[in-house]
């Protein structure tokens, strides 16, 4: 499926095709950003008439919009308790403009038979032992700083999610994905693909060995750089607990500039996306250790554990 995307340059994180910078973050780009987040500065609409000719926004503009988005979220939470998840219409992340629903989500409640209260199961056939070591998937060792990333997958009750699938993908140490739509002129590493998966153990624990990914540029705005991150995909016992997210590394100076991390409007919630360096987890003369626990939102599978009958 990756081939197909070449025909369409309008996709964001392809860095560096700057032939048409206005393109990538896609159409939404120049739409009056205020229309989603309703920040006041939209009183001055960007160049009416030919929005697509509008200059790619500056970091300053994006940073203002991030601040406005955060202020709006704070104002909407008079009790000081903001949403944990990002709003889907976060204007500074340009690609969100045409890809979020405008209707409110429809609640499904009080239906114990809802399919989403159970979820897919995975097993020994779905994962090989090597899948969790991203440094051993090729003939040679990848370049970069070897790291161990481990943590637990928990439900909001604190109960561990056992035997469930954790999938990760990431850029290599230079900040390049092994994906042909990634044209960032940083070297590919023939010894690194950047894909891993494992099943959690009985304590909900996952562990990956990989290399620390590099930061990479994208075309949301001028001089846009993603802080180093690892993408995570997680399943709970219920499909409604599904989560795809990104893990960041502590102390990254790019945090405040990144509209994707900042799409999470609450600082406390953003902090939960950042792994902790754990010296006790570092292995002497081998790898640095990062610890990141993940808490899945949503209802657990109904207590009459339907997995038992599968």
């Amino acid at each position: 499926m990756t081939l197909a995307h070449d025909a369409d340059p309008a996709h964001d994180a392809d860095p560096a095709h700057d032939a048409d910078p206005a393109h990538d973050a896609d159409p939404a780009h120049d739409a009056d950003p205020a229309q989603d987040a309703a920040p006041p500065q939209d009183a001055a609409p960007p160049q009416g008439g030919t929005p697509k000719q509008d200059a790619t926004p500056t970091q300053e503009r994006i940073s203002e919009e991030i601040a406005a988005g955060h202020a709006a979220a704070e104002a909407a939470a008079p009790d000081g308790v903001q949403r944990h998840h990002p709003p889907r219409d976060f204007a500074p992340y340009r690609s969100s403009a045409l890809r979020h629903p405008r209707h409110q989500l429809v609640p499904v409640s009080g239906d114990p038979e809802a399919m989403e209260l159970s979820g897919p199961v995975f097993g020994a056939t779905d994962v090989t032992a090597l899948d969790a070591d991203l440094t051993r998937q090729h003939a040679g060792e990848p370049l970069g700083e070897r790291i161990t990333v481990t943590g637990r997958v928990l439900e909001r009750t604190g109960r561990p999610v056992r035997g469930q699938l954790v999938e990760i993908w990431q850029a290599n140490a230079s900040g390049r994905y092994a994906h042909q739509r990634d044209q960032h002129p940083a070297p590919l590493d023939p010894h690194f693909t950047g894909v891993g998966r494992c099943l959690t153990d009985d304590e909900g624990r996952y562990t990956f060995t990989t290399v620390r990914p590099g930061a990479y540029p994208w075309r949301n705005h001028v001089n846009a750089w993603r802080p180093a991150h690892i993408h995570f995909s997680l399943f709970g016992t219920a499909f409604a607990q599904r989560l795809v997210t990104q893990m960041y590394f502590p102390g990254d100076p790019l945090f405040p500039y990144d509209p994707i991390l900042q799409s999470v409007t609450d600082q406390r919630a953003r902090d939960r996306l950042v792994a902790a360096y754990d010296h006790a987890l570092s292995t002497p003369e081998w790898a640095l250790g990062y610890r990141w626990d993940i808490v899945l939102d949503g209802p657990s599978a109904t207590p009459t554990d339907p997995e038992e009958e599968r």
Partner: protein, 252 residues
């Protein structure tokens, strides 16, 4: 290679869980609460799947959920579109209609690649990336008539937090509580359109006049606010395309 030292206490509290207000303080008077003890830990926030999941999440046969040669198999297909009506070529759809078995993404221990489903077990789980035209195809078994739907979870670049919907296949159960609560125009967005025997069409619209009904489940952070008047989506009931139309021409 070397396993990480297993010297961490297994019962330690998750990191990054400072003692700030837990989610259950998020009361809104008109909302039924789940018990406080069910909300002890704040959830890890969602982040967009981004554009580069394509070599990580999809797997061969991800859309071939029906056992091979099953005479009752049906095909669901459609297109994912954005608020301007354009196809979304980088969405990822997941389908769930259990009760399932493991084996959706069986691995080949020899090559490290994918071995494909075994062709016999019904795992109930499908995963399909959209193609360059935003298209997707799922070959599966029809959901039992008393349920009538297949659950769908939608991910995409540009989508900060996945969306759930349902594909109702065939005549929906007359007492389905979700469908019963929706106005006809919105209800229709959840019904697969029969094309020919065994073939159904179902488009997903993120936005616009045909915007798909997306769902939120009890016990999720968002369910606390799904009916609150201050939700950021609240005021935007229009299609909101006026300001976007002009973007199109310059796209090509």
């Amino acid at each position: 290679m070397k396993p990480p030292p297993d010297d961490q206490p297994t019962d330690r509290a998750p990191n990054r869980m400072p003692g700030h207000a837990p989610g259950h303080t998020r009361h809104r008077a008109n909302q039924p609460r789940i018990p406080a003890q069910g909300r002890e830990l704040p959830p890890t926030p969602s982040q967009t799947v981004g554009p580069f999941y394509g070599y990580a999440l999809p797997f061969p046969g991800g859309g071939q959920v029906a056992p091979v040669g099953h005479p009752g198999a049906i095909t669901l297909h459609g297109t994912v579109r954005d608020g301007a009506g354009e196809p979304v070529p980088d969405a990822l759809l997941e389908f769930w209609q259990g009760p399932g078995r493991p084996g959706s993404l069986r691995r080949d221990p020899v090559t490290g690649g994918f071995a494909g489903r075994n062709g016999v077990d019904f795992t109930g789980f499908g995963r399909v990336p959209t193609d360059a035209d935003g298209g997707w195809v799922l070959r599966t078994l029809p959901p039992p008539p008393e349920r009538g739907y297949v659950s769908v979870c939608v991910f995409a670049r540009g989508l900060t937090h996945h969306l759930f919907t349902r594909v109702y296949v065939g005549a929906p159960p007359p007492d389905d509580p979700l469908l019963a609560a929706l106005p006809e125009e919105r209800r229709r967005t959840l019904l697969a359109v029969p094309v020919e025997p065994g073939l159904y069409h179902f488009d997903i619209h993120f936005q616009g006049g045909k915007e798909t009904v997306f769902l939120v489940f009890d016990g999720t952070d968002e369910s606390d606010e799904s009916e609150s008047p201050d939700g950021s989506d609240g005021p935007e009931q229009s299609d909101g395309l006026d300001g976007l139309d002009g973007l199109h021409g310059s796209d090509g």
